[in-house]
């Protein structure tokens, strides 16, 4: 009993500590986004001198936020859909078949996670430019170029997690379907994929978040027309004269899609990791 009370006290102190460190920056973002410009130009104050929603309307004309938003949406959705589809196929092969090169493939894909992005950024840029010159496919400065790049960023983690997830699902269900005359691919998409939805959704969220937040490659591979939110906001934030209240408003607007999606589906993510990744 004594121990239990001590633990409860410890838990409350711990939870307060974690709540404070989490909330401090979040509170700063939210309150600054409803402050008038004078407030963010002088010494920081914890509460706005008056509440205004002007930053939320002004930011759209201060920077081309709508354009960035649309670009990020197209690129992130494209990368997510394609990478999830490709990851499902590869994970199915690794989980259900024993084929020559299986281990080598897994190792190759996982080890790409280790590469410093900086090592292949410049060569990739050159390859894209030359592909355009030789084959005529425009990759540099186009949506396709960034979609292809981002989908590979999410692939290793997606495949690794889906393999674990598929392994936890008994083969008998697909085998029953295959006895009824369904092909292997039919069994995958009609039996295994519906059952694995939590894992697939988790992988999809991860892929979308990866693409939505990427800075380094977007800064080199996009041009003015395809600039993403990450590059657009960073460029604005490092200018000398920044309207911080408008920038904080923009920060909230661009965070809503990912934070809402992530939080709505967080249980799937925890389940997905518990079922898949953790067992490795």
């Amino acid at each position: 009993m004594h121990e239990k009370r001590a633990f409860n006290a410890l838990r409350i102190i711990g939870l307060i500590f974690f709540t404070l460190i989490t909330l401090f920056p979040l509170y700063t973002i939210v309150t600054s986004s409803i402050k008038p410009l004078a407030d963010v130009r002088s010494t920081f104050r914890w509460t706005p001198s008056r509440i205004t929603l002007a930053p939320y309307t002004d930011i759209w004309s201060t920077i081309p936020l709508a354009r960035y938003f649309l670009n990020s949406l197209i690129i992130s959705l494209g990368a997510t859909v394609i990478s999830v589809f490709i990851a499902i196929l590869a994970a199915y092969a690794i989980s259900r078949y024993r084929f020559f090169g299986r281990g080598a493939f897994s190792l190759t894909v996982l080890s790409t996670q280790m590469f410093p992005g900086i090592l292949f950024l410049l060569p990739l840029f050159v390859i894209y430019v030359n592909l355009e010159r030789v084959v005529g496919i425009q990759l540099y400065g186009s949506y396709a170029g960034l979609i292809i790049t981002y989908l590979t960023f999410a692939l290793p983690f997606s495949i690794w997690m889906l393999v674990g997830y598929f392994n936890s699902i008994p083969k008998e269900m697909e085998e029953a379907a295959m006895v009824d005359g369904t092909t292997a691919l039919g069994a995958l998409f009609r039996v295994l994929v519906p059952v694995s939805m939590p894992g697939i959704v988790a992988v999809g969220i991860f892929a979308f978040m990866t693409a939505w937040g990427e800075v380094l490659f977007a800064s080199v591979l996009t041009d003015d027309a395809t600039r993403t939110l990450a590059v657009g906001l960073r460029n604005y934030a490092t200018q000398s004269n920044v309207y911080w209240n408008q920038l904080m408003a923009a920060a909230i607007v661009v965070s809503i899609p990912v934070v809402a999606g992530f939080l709505a589906l967080q249980r799937y993510l925890v389940q997905g990791i518990a079922a898949g990744g953790v067992k490795g």
Partner: protein, 329 residues
């Protein structure tokens, strides 16, 4: 598909029905052998195009004197053998000493961020994993920093770290009176602590998420049995939780190490293309050498050195701790 279906009866007729079941099943085993290759092919092609092939090109470039004079015409860049590597590894030269300093800063930064994230993540996961009413709210709250886009988190911190208009100095100087002078956080030696704090705030929720998922795979019966036997909570943590979390922790620490050591976003968004010496992390150091000083050959050789270092550390880690070995299965 149609083709095989048509052919199968013919095979069975020829075999005369004897052991026909076995023939069909071995026939099936042959066909799927091409299928798995087709299934992994798209993933493999994209990885080759975006990662492996450019990486090989990058290794090639590291042997060239690819400076701004040759950017337009790569084939004219002179081959210099190992000179880029020797420059990078020579601690008495200006390039080598800057790289060595950047390496040491990155090591310190990685130790602090990975260690801090891991400790915070385990503590928070243990706090949230026990039964109480508001636990879902806390879990949601703690995951928000990880759910935010990286650049949003870093931009928010760069606003908070402003000397005159930032929240940090108001808190430390005006509210808590811990300091008398308003320090600069984004220039000088404090920049190191700024980038550590920013990264830590963003990465501990990932450790929290992984450990929480790991905790949920531990059967509660184990704890019930242990508390019936009179084991204290601390003892339960040491003898049940930690050993059963081992597989999660091993993977988590490796992933955190790789991500943190390669971290580019936090210093780039905080400081731009001219980071203060104290916060000159390796990825940004290489970026500045390649894209600001236009010395791609040197930048590529530094990247290769970074890759080799990560490879050696990872292989040693996996061998010594047997990550993914039979004992975890």
């Amino acid at each position: 598909m149609e083709e095989t279906k048509d052919r199968r009866p013919e095979v069975e007729v020829r075999r005369g029905g004897r052991r026909s079941g076995e023939r069909v099943s071995s026939k099936r085993r042959v066909r799927p052998q091409t299928l798995p290759y087709l299934l992994v092919l798209p993933a493999l092609l994209f990885e080759l195009l975006v990662h492996l092939f450019p990486m090989l090109v990058g290794v090639g470039v590291s042997f060239l004197e690819l400076t701004q004079f040759y950017v337009r015409n790569w084939s004219a860049a002179p081959f210099v053998g190992l000179r880029n590597y020797l420059d990078g590894l020579d601690p008495s030269g200006p390039i080598g000493s800057a790289l060595a300093q950047s390496f040491l800063i990155t090591v310190a930064y990685t130790v602090l961020v990975v260690g801090g994230s891991w400790v915070l993540g385990i503590c928070a996961a243990l706090l949230v994993n026990s039964e109480f009413r508001a636990r879902r709210w806390f879990r949601t709250l703690f995951l928000i920093p990880y759910a935010l886009p990286v650049y949003v988190a870093v931009i928010a911190w760069s606003f908070m770290l402003q000397r005159n208009t930032g929240a940090i100095n108001t808190l430390l100087v005006d509210n808590l009176h811990l300091l008398h002078e308003r320090p600069f956080w984004l220039i000088g030696n404090n920049a190191f602590w700024s980038v550590v704090m920013t990264s830590l705030w963003r990465s501990w929720p990932f450790a929290f998420l992984m450990v929480l998922a790991g905790l949920q795979t531990i059967p509660t019966e184990l704890y019930e049995a242990a508390s019936i036997d009179g084991a204290s909570r601390w003892r339960q943590f040491r003898t049940i939780t930690l050993p059963l979390l081992r597989p999660v922790n091993l993977v988590l620490l490796l992933v955190l190490f790789l991500w943190t050591f390669n971290e580019f976003n936090a210093p780039y968004v905080l400081f731009g293309q001219a980071p203060p010496g104290a916060a000159d992390l390796l990825s940004l150091h290489i970026y500045v050498n390649s894209f600001v000083d236009w010395n791609f050959g040197l930048g590529a050789s530094m990247s290769v050195l970074l890759l080799l270092f990560l490879l050696v550390v990872s292989v040693i880690y996996i061998r010594v701790l047997r990550v993914g070995g039979e004992e975890n299965a």
